[in-house]
Symmetry: C2
Subunit: 154 residues, 2 copies
């Protein structure tokens, strides 16, 4: 049904000292290092407190992609379509995370809360605005259950 | 600095009767028609009320891409880096919009609020969750000014 192939180029890279195993906690600070020719394209971003980072989950292998999976591969979770989750094992492994913008110096941004590994290619960023806030959004039971566990002190 | 090319395939297409000139108002209903082989990958999405649509703004031509621009090309707006805006004229013309999920039937979703033209390729969707809500996010003066005008009755 759907023909065509889309080609894009990384516009920057993630640099972080957060270890792979810790990245998903979204607590660390990352640098977003952009191609120097894009420095002027970042001007004015400081007016926003938050931004979306779109990145390419480059470690996902073709054979890892699935149509259905259980969240965190847990047997007490429902079997879901992968597009109904934020799993990286999706048809186009694009990551999307809202982060807090801490600082910009020329072609480098410092952000808090990114769950991308060190070395991840960045494909786009977008300022976060009121249209992205949906306080009335509803999540399913399984999502709320996973999140409640996450918030518990260890 | 940044090498490599990323290739991705559309996973579906936008179908809408909203005319091109009206799309940006985000008021209409769109169908997201996915490749039939991805039907099972959509299962469970109904548990979420909202989702992100990532789409490829296929009408943006290479020569339309800019580093800096004024929002809506208005002279009373500041000259900003294109990555500090949601302009389509960015290095990788990926669109990102939060929409309300109205219904799913097999490989078709009905959503409200998408600002993509009829025929736009979809590259990913993601369920919207609490981590995407940032009610404390701050926007710059120019953004608030544009938005205030938008809300005014005509």
């Amino acid at each position: 049904m759907i023909a065509g192939e889309i080609r894009l180029k990384p516009i920057g890279l993630v640099r972080t000292e957060v270890r792979d195993e810790e990245v998903r906690h979204r607590e660390g600070i990352s640098q977003l290092i952009f191609d120097e020719c894009l420095t002027s394209a970042l001007e004015g971003l400081e007016g926003f407190s938050h931004l979306f980072v779109l990145y390419w989950m480059h470690r996902v292998k073709e054979e890892d992609k699935v149509l259905k999976a259980r969240p965190r591969e847990r047997l007490d979770m429902p079997l879901l379509g992968v597009l109904a989750t934020r799993s990286p094992h999706r048809p186009n492994p694009i990551g999307l995370t809202v982060v807090q913008l801490l600082e910009r110096k020329a072609n480098v941004l410092w952000v808090r809360g990114l769950d991308a590994f060190n070395g991840t290619p960045i494909i786009d960023i977008k300022p976060y605005d009121s249209w992205d806030m949906r306080p009335d959004a509803r999540m399913p039971e399984w999502w709320l259950r996973l999140e409640a566990e996450r918030s518990k002190p260890v």
